[in-house]
C-alpha cells in the first residue's frame, strides 16, 4: 500500500537571525528558522531544511518570582545579563539568547531606555550567538525603550518582539530602520495573526522577516488551544496563504514555569515529587507538543529542558525510513 502524500503549495519563510561581520554585525553565529514545506516532522511528505531551534531566556534583572529550581542554575549570574547570557551559551549550550527587558515594566523597576539599551549592549558584547529581544510587555514602556534598544543592536539582525495588533507601529519602524526581524504576537487566533502580519507588512516591512508568536498556553493551561490554532495556521500557510507562511516562535518556558505543577515545592506537594525534576519535565512536556504543532523556535528557561528538547528535536528529525 502506498501512503497518500500531501503536497504543499507553499514553503514556510526562512528567517535568518543574527548577522556576522560580513553582514554588518558582530555575531559569530547565525541561525535560520523555517523553510519547511511539510507539516511538522512529516519528513515523508516534504523537508525541514532547518530543524526547530531553541533559545534560552534571560532577563535584564533578577526575577523575583522564579521558583528555586529555576533560579538554581543561574543563581550566580542573575545580577548581570551579560554573565547570565555567557553562562547559557558556554555552559548550557544555548544557540540563541532571548533577552527579556523586564526591568522596564512599571511594576518591575520602571527602567528607562538607556538602562535597557545598556543591557542589550552588554549581552551583545558578552556572547556571539544571535539575540531575540523582548520588551517588558507594557505597550507604553516598550514604545519608549525598544527604539533605543533596536538602535543599539543595529546591524545585528536581532529578532525583536512583540508587535501586537494594538501596538505594532513603533517596533516595526525601529526594526525597519535598524535591520531587525520582528515577532508578531496574537492571542491564539488565526484571523488576528493574519491581521497583525498584514498590518506590519503594510508599513513596508518585509513579510519574510516576520516570526509569529501565537501565544503559548502552558501544559494544562490551554496548550491544546494553542496547538490547534498553530495547526490551522500552518495548514493554511502550506495550502498557499502567504499572509500566514511565517515561522513560529513559542515561549514554552515562560508558560510552563507559571504552572503550579512546576513551581510548587516538594514540601507543599509531596505526592508530586521533587520539583528539581518536575519543573524541567513540565517545560519539556510543554515544548514537545509545540514542536509537533509547528514551533520553529522554542524559548526555554531551564538548562535541563534545553537539553531535553534539543534531544527530542534530534530524535524527531531522524529520517523515518
Amino acid at each position: 500500500m502506498e501512503i497518500l502524500k500531501e503536497k504543499s503549495s507553499l514553503r514556510i519563510n526562512e528567517v535568518l537571525i543574527g548577522a556576522g561581520k560580513d553582514k554588518g554585525g558582530t555575531r559569530t553565529s547565525a541561525v535560520t528558522i523555517g523553510g519547511e514545506n511539510c507539516l511538522p516532522f512529516h519528513l515523508f511528505e516534504g523537508e525541514m531544511p532547518n530543524p526547530p531551534k531553541t533559545a534560552m531566556e534571560i532577563w535584564d534583572m533578577k526575577p523575583s518570582d522564579w521558583p528555586a529550581a529555576l533560579v538554581k542554575p543561574f543563581d550566580d549570574v542573575m545580577d548581570s545579563p551579560a554573565k547570565w547570557a555567557k553562562k547559557c551559551v558556554e555552559q548550557y549550550g544555548a544557540e540563541i539568547i532571548a533577552l527579556r527587558l523586564q526591568s522596564a515594566h512599571p511594576d518591575f523597576g520602571d527602567a528607562g531606555a538607556d538602562k535597557c539599551a545598556a543591557a542589550v549592549r552588554s549581552v551583545l558584547d558578552s556572547v556571539g550567538v544571535p539575540l531575540v529581544i523582548f520588551g517588558c510587555g507594557n505597550d507604553e514602556k516598550d514604545n519608549m525603550i525598544m527604539p533605543k534598544c533596536s538602535e543599539t543592536a543595529k546591524g545585528e539582525n536581532c529578532l525583536m518582539g512583540n508587535a501586537t495588533q494594538a501596538n505594532y507601529k513603533t517596533l516595526t519602524a525601529s526594526c525597519l530602520a535598524d535591520g531587525h526581524s520582528i515577532i508578531g504576537e496574537t492571542p491564539i487566533d488565526v484571523n488576528i495573526q493574519k491581521q497583525v502580519n498584514i498590518l506590519v507588512t503594510e508599513m513596508g516591512f518585509d513579510a519574510k522577516k516576520i516570526v509569529m508568536d501565537p501565544t503559548t498556553g502552558g501544559l494544562g493551561y490551554g496548550l491544546e488551544y494553542t496547538y490547534s490554532v498553530m495547526e490551522r495556521i500552518r495548514s493554511a500557510a502550506l495550502g498557499g496563504d502567504s499572509t500566514l507562511s511565517m515561522p513560529f516562535i513559542c515561549r514554552a518556558g515562560q508558560e510552563s514555569w507559571r504552572a503550579k505543577e512546576s513551581k510548587a515545592g516538594v514540601s507543599e506537594r509531596p505526592e508530586w515529587g521533587d520539583e528539581a525534576q518536575r519543573g524541567p519535565a513540565w517545560e519539556i512536556a510543554t515544548g514537545v507538543p509545540l514542536l509537533v504543532a509547528g514551533a520553529d523556535l522554542l524559548v526555554v528557561r531551564h538548562p535541563e529542558s534545553l537539553a531535553g528538547l534539543k534531544g527530542m528535536i534530534k530524535h524527531l528529525m531522524d529520517k523515518q525510513e
Binding site: 495588533q165 494594538a166 507601529k169 513603533t170 519602524a173 487566533d189 488565526v190 484571523n191 488576528i192 493574519k194 491581521q195 498584514i198 498590518l199 503594510e202 508599513m203 499572509t243
Partner: protein
Amino acid sequence: MKKERCHIKFLPEDKSVEVKSGTTILEAAHIAGVYINSACGGDHICGKCRVKIKKGHVNSPPTNLLSLSDIKSGYVLACQAQVTSDAVAEIPAEASPGQAKIVVDGKQPLYSRIEGMQSTEQLEKKLVFETSPLVRKIFLKLPQPDRQNNISDLERIYREIRKVDDIKIMQTGLKVIREIASLVRNSNWEITVTLGRRNGTTEVIQVEPGDTSSGNFGVAVDVGTTTVVASLVNLNTGEVLGAKGTYNKQISYGEDVISRIIYASEKTGLERLELAVVENINSLIESLASADNLKLSDITAVQCAGNTTMTHLLMGIMPDFIRRDPYVPAATCIPAIRAAEVGIRINPRGILSCVPGVASYVGGDVVAGVLASGMAESDELSLFIDMGTNGELVLGNREWFTCCACSAGPAFEGSGIKSGMRARNGAIEKIDIRKNLEPEFTVIGNVRPHGICGAGLLDLMGEMLARGIIDRAGQISRTSKNPRIRKGEAGFEYVLVWKKDSDGESDIAVTQSDIDNLIKAKAAIYAGAAIMLKRMNFSFDRVMHYYIGGAFGAHLDIEKAIRFGLLPDLKRDSFLYLGNSSLTGARQCLLSQEAREKVHRFARMMTSFELSIEPGYMEEYVAAFFLPHTDLTKFPTVKAESGAGVTG
C-alpha cells in the same frame, strides 16, 4: 421647603405638568408628553437624558455619566433627578428628536454616487400586482324585490356584488345587518358596500346610502423601532397621495427592542408602549388626511409592517418571551382586525392588517422587504439586507428563502457613538479628509454641525483609512503629530469639528471605541451574510442581486460601504437600494390580494436560523474585524487601491 405637588415646565417646548414631589424628570416628561431621549429607558446607564435645570431644585444623585462642567452648569440625568420644588427644565438639542429627515418612501430620490444603479421606480414596474385592495368600495343599484324575486336584502346585496366580482364566501356583521333593511329602502336601493378582506373571507364591513365609492383610502405604515412612517394611498387608483415619518414615541421607554420588551413586562408598560405607537400612527394619519382634505371615515384600511416586537406592541400582545430562550413570539401571523380595536382612528369599521413575520427576530418588515425587492420573482440568487437596528438578512430565490438576524446593533443609526446622531438637521453626512487631515463635510439642513449620522460615519471610516488616521484594524495612529489626532478622556480620537465650528458645547470627535463599535456592527452583518451563504453552500459571487433596505440604506454609499467591508465586493450594479422596503411592501399589500397572499407564502417559506449557535460564526466575525476584511482576496477591487494612503 419640600412641596407635595411640583409644577414642572419643560423648555424649549414650553409644556408644563404638575407631579408629585419625588417624581423623576423623565417620568414628568412622559406625563407632560415631552420627548426626552433615553436610550436605556431610565436604567441610569446611557447618560443620554441629560437636561438642564434652569430654575428650582431637584435631588440628583452623583453620576459619572455627566462631566464636571455639565454638573456645574446645572445638568442632571432626567431618569435620576427627582423634583422637590417647582422647576424649569431645559431639554438640550441632542436629547430631543428634532426635525427628522426620515426616508419616508421607497420612491424618494435616493442618495448614491454609484452610476448605473437601478432606481426603485424601475424595480416597482417589475412588480405591479393586480389591484385588489385590502378594502374596496362598490356602488350597487339593487333590483327591487317582488314576489318572484324575494330573496333577503343581504342575499340581494351578495348577489349584486357577485355580478361585479365572483366572491364565493362573504360574511357580514350583525351591526350592519341590523341596519340594512331600512338603509336600502331609504336610499332608493342605491348603496355603496365596503368590502374588507379578512383572513381568507370577504366581509361586508359597511353599507352606505348612495354612491360613496370614491372615498376609499388606505394607509401603509412601517412601524420601525426608531421611526414610524406612513403613506396615504388612494385604494381605487393605487396612487400615493403623501407620506410622513416620525420618531417612534416608544424610544423614551428604551432605544432597542430588548429594553422595550423589558419595559413591556413592567406594570402598565405594555399599555404605555401600545398607546405610544398608536398615537404615532394616529397623528401621522391625521396629518396625511388633513393635507388632502380627507375625512378620517374615508380611510378604510391600514396595513402595517413591523418587526415582531413592534407588531406585538402595536397589538397589545406581551412580547416577553421573544427575548427568552428559545425566543418564541406569541404570534407571527396576526389576523386582520378592526383598526378601532387597538385605537387607530380611521373609519370605525376599517381594517388593520399586519404583514406576517417569520420568527422573533425576523419580522413582517423583513417579509415586506422581500416582497418589495422582487427577489421571489427570480430564479437568480438574491440577498436582501434590512439595515435597521439589527440587520436582518434573507437569502434565496423563487424557490426558497433562508433568513437570520445579525445583532449588529444601532451604531449605523448613530447610537452608541460619542458624536453619533440620527440623520436629521445638523448631522454630518458626507466627509472628505484632505492629506493634511483637514476634513471637508456637508451637513443636513446646511446648519452648524451637531454630530455625525450613519452615512457620515461610514464616510469617515473610509477617509480615515485612506489617510492613515486608522489602520486596517481600525486602530487610531498614536504617532501622528497632527492636532486633530489626540488622546481624549477615553483613548485616542480624531477631531472632525472643533468646538468653535460646531453648534454644541464641545468638539465633534470620533473615538477609538466608536470605531470599534462600527467595526463590530459591520463585522456582524458581513459575517452573518457569509455564514448564511456558507450554510447553503454558496459564496458571495453567486449572489446576483444584493438588495439593501431600511432607513440607513437610503443614505448608503455603496462604494464606501464596500471599502469598509460592510458589503461584499461584488459588481456594483448588483446592488440595489430599496429605501424603506418595509413601507413599499406594506403598500403593495394594501393594494393587492396577490401581494398579501405572497407575503403569507414568503413568511411560511422562510427558514430562520440562529446565527449565535451556528458553528463558525465567531470565526467569520473575527475575520471581518479588519478593513475591509482579514482575507483581502475577498475584496479584490479594494485591495487594488489600498496601500498608498497608509502613512503611519
